[in-house]
């Protein structure tokens, strides 16, 4: 993407339609994938601090915190089995999530960051989005370990990371979409540096 930087007069809102279509399709698909990720967290933790603590540290069935994130599995006939009590996650189980997240989430913000870099948005705002995105990735990967091995009271850290990631993601898809489809030729030419 950085080679676009050298094209004199390149602006995302004036990019060829096929480039806009490609970027829009990419943004649409990653939005769906992030949405699925949010649902994943909601199913497991209820997107609550008690739910997060219970998911990583375990909670007996019937406990208040455990019920917020308890899973119910169906047997072969389609009837519900007993609600599964949550057990504490082992280091390997945490790593099974941490390992792919470190690569995939970072790469996602890396790619989105390049798209944002082509937008006519002030450099400080871009920088804020980049920092927020990667900080959110750090929080998202570190918080399970902190909740599990330091204190359940750090579950708020994970929720903070979720909110930060949602905000950064919204900015990183919102600005390019606005630039490509809502900003006309007469739109203000902002700072197109990264």
């Amino acid at each position: 993407m950085t080679q676009y930087f050298t094209y004199d007069g390149f602006a995302l809102h004036r990019a060829p339609t096929q480039v806009k279509a490609l970027l829009t399709a990419f943004i649409a698909v990653v939005t769906i994938s992030v949405g699925v990720g949010v649902v994943n967290y909601q199913v497991r933790t209820g997107l609550t601090a008690p739910g997060s603590a219970a998911w990583y540290r375990g909670a007996p069935s019937g406990s208040g915190a455990g019920e917020a994130a308890a899973r119910t599995r169906e047997d072969a006939a389609g009837g519900p089995l007993a609600t599964t009590p949550l057990r504490e996650k082992s280091p390997l189980e945490l790593l099974d999530a941490t390992h792919p997240h470190l690569f995939n989430q970072a790469f996602l913000f890396f790619v989105l960051g390049h798209v944002v870099a082509l937008c006519a948005v002030r450099s400080r705002r871009k920088m804020a989005l980049y920092v927020a995105g990667f900080l959110a990735v750090l929080l998202d990967t570190a918080s399970p370990w902190l909740i599990r091995y330091v204190s359940p009271s750090l579950a708020w850290l994970q929720l903070t990371g979720h909110a930060l990631m949602a905000g950064a993601f919204a900015g990183m898809v919102g600005y390019p979409l606005r630039e490509m489809w809502l900003r006309g030729e007469s739109g203000q030419a902002g700072d197109r540096e990264g």
């Binding site: 950085t2 080679q3 930087f5 050298t6 004199d8 007069g9 280091p91 390997l92 790593l95 099974d96 941490t98 390992h99 792919p100 470190l102 690569f103 995939n104 989430q105 970072a106 790469f107 913000f109 890396f110 960051g113 390049h114 870099a117 450099s123 871009k126 920088m127 980049y130 920092v131 990667f134 990735v137 990967t141 197109r192 540096e193 990264g194």
Partner: protein, 196 residues
């Protein structure tokens, strides 16, 4: 001085060819935003490979025998601390598939950034070869061990460790260029051939 500001370090080494678009996009002349992007993604790639090694260590251990046991099982070993069964073919292929898709991208990105560094030609080529070779071997490792035998345990472990080390080395080179190199200076202004 003007020629130097056009990022001709590699061009000097290559005999003074004119600076083109590629040489204008060297790491040490990037704007702050791009430095943050590239530094952060490299940081997470290094962490990710470290997590992969930790994962291997917890799964079975960080020895060639442990790597072989993970894919081939150790049911015949009476001294095994933990019983492992041979991985089903679909699980092995699943691992290879995942590594092919998600393991290649970090290597490509790392290589692309390394290409934009001021690393001289010979070390760059050496590091690039190690990076690609270890990545390819790491991708194929589950299948090689599962169907090639225990002898592939050592190369598989060497590939994983080598890949992590080469990514870390590449990241260190890039970070040095972006933040510590004396010439790391003002932002590159688009449309202007010289750094501001």
């Amino acid at each position: 001085m003007a020629a130097r500001r056009l990022g001709v370090d590699r061009a000097d080494e290559e005999g003074g060819e004119p600076a083109g678009a590629r040489s204008l996009l060297t790491l040490f002349r990037l704007s702050g935003g791009y430095r943050v992007l590239y530094s952060a993604v490299l940081f997470f790639f290094v962490l990710g490979h470290g997590a992969g090694l930790a994962q291997q260590a917890l799964q079975a251990g960080l020895t060639p025998e442990a790597v072989a046991d993970w894919w081939l099982g150790n049911a015949s070993d009476p001294n095994a601390e933990r019983l492992l069964f041979a991985k089903e073919p679909h699980l092995v292929l699943d691992a290879v598939w995942r590594r092919t898709l998600s393991g290649v991208l970090p290597v490509v990105v790392t290589l692309a950034l390394l290409f934009r560094s001021s690393l001289p030609r010979t070390p760059f080529r050496a590091l690039a070869v190690v990076l690609v070779a270890t990545a390819l071997l790491d991708i194929a490792a589950p299948a090689l061990v599962r169907w090639g035998g225990r002898a592939w345990g050592a190369p598989a472990l060497a590939a994983q460790v080598g890949l992590a080390a080469s990514v870390a080395a590449s990241a260190a080179v890039c970070w040095h260029d972006m933040w510590l190199r004396p010439e790391a200076g003002p932002r590159f202004r688009r449309g202007v051939g010289e750094a501001a």
